[in-house]
């Protein structure tokens, strides 16, 4: 039987050919889809931790996420068949006026890697677009990203729009270079994350 630790390692090092091969072999050998998924999630968690510690960088995160994505494509039909449900649905985007996407993409990938169903709205997203996506997808988690100090007020406008709709159980997490915990408190966000790996921890905590 293929070793699932090897799958974890392949995800961590971004080795997509090994990762997809082990995923296929594990399914054929009768490993449960959940156990295969768990091995991948551990890999993404570990690479996220290393990112947080400044030991790996954006390229390493991206190739790990790519290995995960390609392996997930193989695993997904079996997962669905086994009755698997994602942890939650998240809506994510860079706020209006801001076109930067690297940080937002990383969080999006890490959330996917942590078994969230992620709806990525892209960049320059208006408060109204966030609100309608939350309603449409029944999301319980929202991620707002901003790189520019000048677009931080858009975060507040988006927060205000979400709160004015009184959407029950929706938690909002904010992040981006100029953003701080005190800013999150100031605009009434539920949480703040300083990097993509912390965004996973914070999301799990908020939804626990």
């Amino acid at each position: 039987m293929p070793n699932l630790n090897e799958l974890t390692e392949a995800i961590k090092s971004g080795n997509r050919s090994t990762a997809t091969r082990i995923t296929t072999e594990s399914l054929e050998a009768g490993d449960t889809p959940q156990s295969i998924l768990d091995a991948m999630v551990v890999g993404m968690d570990e690479i996220g931790e290393r990112f947080k510690r400044n030991e790996v960088f954006v390229p390493e995160m991206l190739i790990a996420a790519r290995a995960m994505k390609e392996s997930m494509a193989i695993l997904e039909p079996a997962l669905v068949k086994s009755g698997y449900k994602p942890l939650a649905t998240a809506v994510i985007g860079t706020v209006q006026g801001d076109l930067h996407d690297i940080g937002k993409n990383l969080v999006s990938m890490m959330w996917k890697g942590a078994s969230f169903n992620v709806v990525d709205l892209g960049v320059n997203v208006s408060p109204e677009a966030f609100v309608s996506a939350i309603k449409e997808h029944d999301a319980t988690l929202v991620g707002l990203s901003a790189l520019l100090t000048t677009t931080m007020p858009s975060m507040k406008a988006t927060m205000d729009a979400i709160r004015s709709e009184q959407l029950d159980g929706v938690k909002v997490l904010i992040g981006g270079a100029p953003v701080t915990q005190s800013y999150a408190d100031q605009i009434g966000a539920d949480g703040f994350a300083s990097d993509a790996a912390s965004a996973v921890d914070a999301a799990r905590k908020l939804l626990a």
Partner: protein
Amino acid sequence: MTGKEVLLRALSGQTTTRPAWLPYVGVHGASLIDVTAKEYLQSADLIVQGLTKANELYQPDGLPIVFDLQMEAEVLGCELKWADKTPPSVVSHPMSLMEGPGKALSDLPDFSVEKGRFPIALEALDRIKKQLGEQVALYGLLTGPFTLTLHLMGNDVFMNMYDTPDHVLAVMDYCSEIACDVATAYVEHGADVVAVVDPMTSQISPEHFTQFVTPAVNKLFDHIRSLGSKGSMFVCGDATRNLEVMAETHCDNIAIDEQIPLDKIRDLALPRNKSFGGNLKLTTVLMMGNEMDARQNAINCIDAAGDRGFILAPGCDLPFDVKPENIQAVAQMVHDTYQRDIARTTGSVSETDSFDDIILPDYTNESAVIVDVVTLDSEGCAPCQYMFKATMDARNRLNDDCQVIVREHKITTREGVGMLVKLAVPNLPSICIDGQCKFASIIPDTAVLVEAILDAAKQKQELTS
């Protein structure tokens, strides 16, 4: 010695009697003259006006001509989205396969400094050179090869560094050639320093930096040196992990952002005969803080850096809406030894003490008008001495029926710092009358001061009668 000479001394690693000062006035120049960033970055006239204003307000030793890392990309066919308060953003990446047409290098438009907005930047440089060139060192800023590669290839570049490294190296080399052309133009038009701004390198590992960035920037810095100019390697963002590899490049100066301790970069730069610069905090201090925060941040930078090979500068481009008074407060710290002494004294005490035991008098119920003069020490500093004397003169001019108590609080003592904090005095020396700061750092005319004291006495009488 002119400011320019101070800066050039620091840049070449020598000691300076005061810190060299380089405020990165980019789109902030637009705000100073009430135009948008979009208008500003497309007009040599406006850039000249903005920099002229910045020179008046901030007494800089050096100024960048334009701080816009999209100019090269624009010429190479990247689409820009303009904004009112920031430089434009690149919204299309012509070489990206994931999101664009996936063009080859040979499909890109030919690069020339006669295209795009380069003629505007060079004209602004010509004019500012004539106007301020003797006093102020002028910086030509260009887009670093990695950041330009990212503009061209989009996020593809990160995975291509693993998948097709030779392709990435070829694009990097091409971007380095372009940077050489821009550097040549800036130097020919009179720039004293060429700054290679490559913020995206903060997103890659030291190994990738060495593999992809080092060859490209070394070629560029060698070229800048061959032009008889000096090159600065400037990385906005958290470049903590890449400091050593940055210090190993052929640059003359390394400029860093606020996340990096200045002493760390100093210890890497000076032994390699490089100077260094940074790293005032843009958001929390210069934009959102007050003048006191700005002064404190400046003195912390100045003291951490030491007096050799150091250029005081913000961590990155000044935001459009940064408060001019905060930048002026930093300039004051640069040019005034006395202000530096004050910041040192107040900072060390006020950071660890809340002064709960220092209680202000109940001014309204006191029979006398209380004048608190907060000084560094009236015996040791001339402005303090004059301010205290002005207060005593004012008191002596008043009749005996006006009761006045004058007290000096020297911030060389804990009690003095406590009073400074409790009275919320923004500047030193200052005069507070019945607990209100009335004259901050400006010594009032005796008659004006007498008037202010009489006003306070009158108010007191009205309240008690």
